[in-house]
């Protein structure tokens, strides 16, 4: 292995004079006061390797010895990752000893001593290649597939698969032989460099299946699909994290991976506290049983922040290859971009807009491209759905990170400050936001088939009503209440009814926080039914009280169980009110 010694230290950028070959993104360890600090090569100039250190460099001196590993930053993949809390470098945070994080303390992401009940899926004589399933072990409720390591190129023949039984992760569970007849022992662990996508699948078609999140303004208005990508930009206080957490709690996915990237520690603590307690509404299991948290909070070292999103994505790809529906959420990708900026700045690169590195759009788009719906070998499917938040500087959506992300992601959930200020949560702006998937013919077919035959038309109609409502409101504001025709008031209040009942959702109410598609469909049809009727008013002053009454009743409906006695009671009351006003 190549060795070197520290030449220069500028915060967490350390220049290392090397005596042999080094490669870009190679990992090295800087030895210092008995601890080893992990670092990654990010630039090479002559015999100087520029490395970003994943830890504080306080006290580090020139001349300290450095050892290179000949490997890129890797994650360790195998059974036992579920429900774990990792830092950005995949250290198991629960295994760390003290109250405070200690520099140079690296812990095993997997548990070497745990036993797993192995069931073979392949048999001797089978022809296999990278990503093929050799067997499975139950990990919590998931059938965790033990796969042919992704790094093995070419075709192999299974020579031997261990019998059903209990094994540890480092025990050999299969022996493969290559074309030359060399034996390769396989255990349950494999390593993969985080910056390189795992591509062991046959095909990545356009996504077409709806992925329910339980959030009405998303599912109804701008749906997310299995294997889709989206992003949530919004100024601080607009509710990005609350929205992401509520998606994580309610989304119809097999697995959730949360990458808390450079955000508040208390928000992560919230996940640690709540997820082991909360039930997954679909399966009744605890939410933590389907969750992996990768957290690198804002006060943890900057370089590891950049690594954290890649670590999370690679773990997602690993589980996707088992045929699972994985939902990856990253909060916030802006912090990751800022980490890139800090390093680029220290390396004295010529800056792009707002001092971000020039290749930021390329980095962002190749990361989003790792999501998707795939057909795996053997006929099953898997998917990674990815939603990232963006924290635009000054709430201005014209800044580099938002613009780069807008090019890469297919759904745009714009959080609006005005909506947040008037406590209209989730503050997703219904008019500015979009889901490109609504234009996909395969998605339209899927929705009309699975939700209701006229669904996409209804959604378009809803958007029209909201749009017209906003225009009417503007006119009312300019011309005054009695300066506009009565119908403007009616139009505005119809959009308000939709807004308050369909779009707004109480993320802290037990019932209202998540709405299954069936209930969303029912409520939208109900409200659209009201909106499609004409009403008689004597003067504009009657319009508001009428709709306020309807809104109140519908709100009570949102708070009670679907189809319950109370629900039906409120619904009857609603119809009565509507009937009285109706023009017919």
């Amino acid at each position: 292995m190549t060795k070197g010694k520290v030449k220069a230290i500028i915060e967490n950028l350390v220049q290392v004079e090397v005596s042999g070959p080094v490669s870009q993104n190679e990992i090295c360890y800087i030895e210092f006061q008995g601890v080893k600090l992990m670092a990654e090569v990010i630039k090479v100039l002559g015999n100087i390797a520029y490395t970003q250190v994943f830890e504080s460099t306080r006290g580090l001196r020139p001349g300290s010895p450095v050892e290179f590993t000949d490997k890129m930053l890797e994650v360790k993949l195998g059974p036992g990752m579920l429900s774990k809390n990792y830092d950005g470098l995949q250290n198991d945070l629960n295994k760390m000893k003290g109250l405070f994080l200690t520099r140079g303390e690296y812990t095993d992401p997997l548990d070497e001593d745990s036993s797993w009940e192995f069931t073979p899926l392949a048999k001797a004589g089978d022809k296999v290649s990278a990503g093929d399933w050799l067997g499975s072990v139950p990990e919590s409720w998931i059938e965790h597939k033990i796969m042919v390591p992704f790094g093995l190129e070419g075709d192999y023949t299974v020579k031997e698969v261990s019998a059903k039984g209990s094994y540890k992760i480092s025990d050999t569970i299969a022996i493969l032989s290559d074309k030359e007849g060399n034996d390769i022992k396989i255990n349950m662990v494999q390593y993969w460099p985080v910056k390189i996508p795992i591509k062991c699948y046959i095909q990545k078609p356009r996504p077409f299946k709806l992925l329910e999140t339980g959030v009405r303004t998303i599912d109804t208005l701008n749906p997310m699909v299995e294997g889709g990508t989206g992003f949530i930009p919004g100024p601080f206080g607009a509710g990005k994290t609350v929205l992401q957490h509520s998606i994580a709690k309610n989304a119809d996915a097999d697995m959730i991976i949360m990458a808390a990237c450079g955000e508040r520690a208390n928000e992560v603590v919230e996940l640690f506290v709540e997820f082991p307690e909360l039930d997954d509404p679909r399966t009744g299991r605890k939410l933590m049983e389907r969750t992996i948290i990768v957290c690198n909070t804002s006060n943890m070292p900057v370089a590891a922040r950049e690594a954290s999103v890649y670590t999370a994505m690679t773990i997602a790809e690993y589980y996707r290859n088992m045929g699972l529906k994985v939902f990856l959420l990253a909060d916030s990708t802006s912090r990751w971009a800022q980490a890139l900026r800090e390093m680029s700045n220290r390396m004295e690169e010529l800056p792009g807009p707002d001092a971000f590195p020039m290749d930021l759009p390329a980095i962002v788009s190749s990361f989003y491209a790792r999501a998707g719906f795939v057909y795996l070998k053997g006929g099953s499917t898997g998917s990674i759905t990815f939603i990232g938040t963006v924290s635009p500087a000054g709430g201005n959506l014209k800044e580099p990170v938002t613009e780069a992300t807008k090019k890469a992601a297919r759904c745009f959930y714009a959080l609006s400050q005005t909506r947040a200020d008037s406590k209209r949560y989730p503050a997703v702006d219904p008019i500015d936001s979009y889901s490109k998937y609504l234009e996909y013919p395969e998605v339209i077919d899927y929705l009309n088939e699975n939700v209701n035959p006229n669904w996409v038309n209804d959604v378009t109609q809803t958007k029209d009503i909201l749009h017209r409502g906003r225009e009417a409101q503007e006119q009312i504001n300019i011309l005054g209440d009695d300066g506009v025709p009565l119908s403007y008031h009616d139009r505005y209040w119809k959009s308000e009814l939709l807004d308050r009942i369909i779009l707004q959702q109480d993320g802290f109410d037990e019932v209202d926080q998540s709405t299954p598609m069936k209930r969303q469909e029912y409520m939208l049809e109900l409200i659209l039914g009201i909106c499609n009727q004409d009403y008689v008013y004597e003067s504009f002053e009657e319009v508001m009280p009428f709709y306020i009454k309807l809104i109140n009743i519908c709100k009570q409906m949102n708070y009670v169980l679907f189809d319950s006695e109370d629900f039906k009671k409120y619904e009857a009351e609603l119809h009565k009110e509507v009937e009285q006003r109706s023009a017919k």
Binding site: A8, I9, E11, Q15, T57, R58, G59, L60, R61, P62, N85, N94, M96, G98, L99, F100, L101, R103, F236, G237, G262, R264, A265, N266, V269, E270, F272, T297, S298, N299, M300, V302, Q338, A339, R341, E342, N345, R346, P351, D354, A355, F356, A393, G394, G395, N396, D421, S422, K423, G480, D481, E541, M544, P545, I548, K549, I551, N552, K555, Y559
Partner: protein
């Protein structure tokens, strides 16, 4: 911090800028402390044997033959129970004429708490101010700044919050504090008879600018000592963080770094996060709560300093002068406490969340009615009623000099709801209406 016999002395400076100097030296560690001509300095960059130091007091009068003495350690603070009741400068040296503090020497700006060892904040801090307790409840372990214009009474309000809140220690980190404000804090604490629970680290406008960079780290190191070692509830007041950021930008500028938005260093977010994320609820019951001040320029919160702060802190508080009642209130629209959800309706009365939201919504309707009035439109009956409600809401609940318990705030809100509105206009869950709505 006296010179010791074995320390090496270097005397050949090869570069001097306004805030930094470089010297050829060996065996020096990153972030190590040194003196240059007796002035404290810290290592910020090492390239082979060329060491760059940031001199806190500035480089005025430093010669190329200045004596540079390295301490072999980063900045430290001696922590002990004797810190209580004392005033220090940015280096942790006493400025109140008292003796040096005896205790363990710890590095400032130490490591972060492992997130899995943190506890979820769950204990509310009451202040008697409705703009906080009712609308933006604070919780121990939270970090929250006042976003204030320079002409607003932010230091006064912060001192009031600090004194009313229940805490074991109050640690003041003053950065670029005017001497008048420093004396204001000192007198306020003395008059309230709480001086023995106060620790102050102060950099006034009379002290060098770059020194400020040490203040928050000193304050939080002391806070960690009391919270972690003594399980105490510590309240840290940091004023003014904008002036801290100004010092950061000066240093990064001198180091030839490429500035990002608003001439601030590209690392501003991480720099601020390192400070604010020290706010924590420890498992042993001790906690660090940070209340800071970020002054704005012309109310602009899109400037890099408030913007980055807002992304880090758990909410923000705005002060506002309510012209209806000529008093200062905590602005119910723009203020937000992100952690309030952890306590309201759980540690406080169950109707708290709904009453809070309804009152704010009605207050917003009043603002709309005001706009209507200004634009010369007729007001509806509802508009008239919300305007009356808003005035009474400000006067009886929100005004900063009102000091009542949370239950009383809720009862007053219910009283005002019933006085001005019908049941439908309130729109609160039926179960609470049954309990609190007395009107037929």
């Amino acid at each position: 911090m006296a010179t010791q016999a074995f320390q090496k002395i270097y005397t050949k400076l090869n570069q001097i800028t306004k805030a930094t100097c470089s010297v050829y030296a060996t065996g020096v560690g990153n972030e190590e402390l040194a003196t240059v001509s007796g002035r404290l300095a810290q290592v910020v960059k090492i390239v082979e044997d060329r060491v760059t130091l940031q001199i806190f007091a500035g480089t005025e009068g430093i010669g190329t033959d200045a004596e540079v003495v390295f301490f072999g350690k980063p900045p430290t603070l001696k922590v002990g129970v004797d810190l209580a009741g004392r005033f220090f400068n940015a280096y942790g040296d006493p400025i109140d004429g008292g003796p040096d503090v005896e205790g363990e020497e710890v590095e400032i700006g130490g490591p972060s708490v492992n997130p899995v060892r943190r506890k979820q904040p769950s204990e509310l801090i009451t202040t008697g101010i409705a703009g906080i307790d009712l609308n933006n409840t604070l919780v121990t372990g939270q970090k929250i700044p006042f976003f204030a214009d320079p002409d607003q009474p932010y230091n006064e309000v912060m001192a009031m919050v600090a004194l009313r809140a229940e805490s074991d220690k109050i640690i003041l980190g003053g950065m670029g504090l005017s001497n008048d404000d420093y004396l204001f804090f000192k007198n306020t604490f003395e008059n309230a008879g709480v001086i023995d629970r106060i620790v102050s680290f102060v950099n006034t406008t009379e002290n060098p600018t770059v020194e400020r960079l040490l203040v928050p780290k000193m304050a939080l190191t002391a806070a960690e000592y009391f919270a972690e070692k003594h399980n105490e509830k510590v309240l840290v007041l940091l004023t003014d963080m904008t002036l801290y950021c100004d010092a950061l930008s000066i240093v990064s500028n001198r180091m030839d770094q490429i500035p990002s938005k608003d001439s601030m260093p590209g690392s501003l977010y991480s720099d601020l996060a390192k400070i604010y994320e020290k706010a924590v609820q420890f498992p042993n019951g001790g906690s660090i709560t940070i209340i800071a001040v970020t002054t704005l320029s012309g109310g602009d919160i899109t400037h890099a300093i408030p913007d980055n702060t807002g992304y880090i802190t758990e909410g923000q508080l705005f002060l506002k002068r309510d012209t209806d009642i000529s008093k200062t209130i905590v602005d119910p629209f723009r203020s937000l406490s992100r952690l309030k959800q952890l306590v309201i309706g759980k540690k406080t009365r169950e109707d708290h969340p709904q009453v809070m939201n309804t009152a704010v919504r009605l207050y917003a309707d009043a603002a709309n009615a005001k706009t209507k009035l200004e634009n010369g439109f007729d007001l509806s009956d509802y508009d008239e009623r919300v305007l009356e409600f808003a005035k009474e809401y400000s006067e009886e609940i929100l005004a900063i000099d009102v000091n009542i318990g949370t239950d009383e705030m809720l009862d007053t809100a219910w009283k005002l709801f019933q006085k001005h509105f019908s049941k439908e206009e309130i729109g609160i869950k039926d179960e609470f209406m049954k309990l609190h709505w007395k009107k037929a």
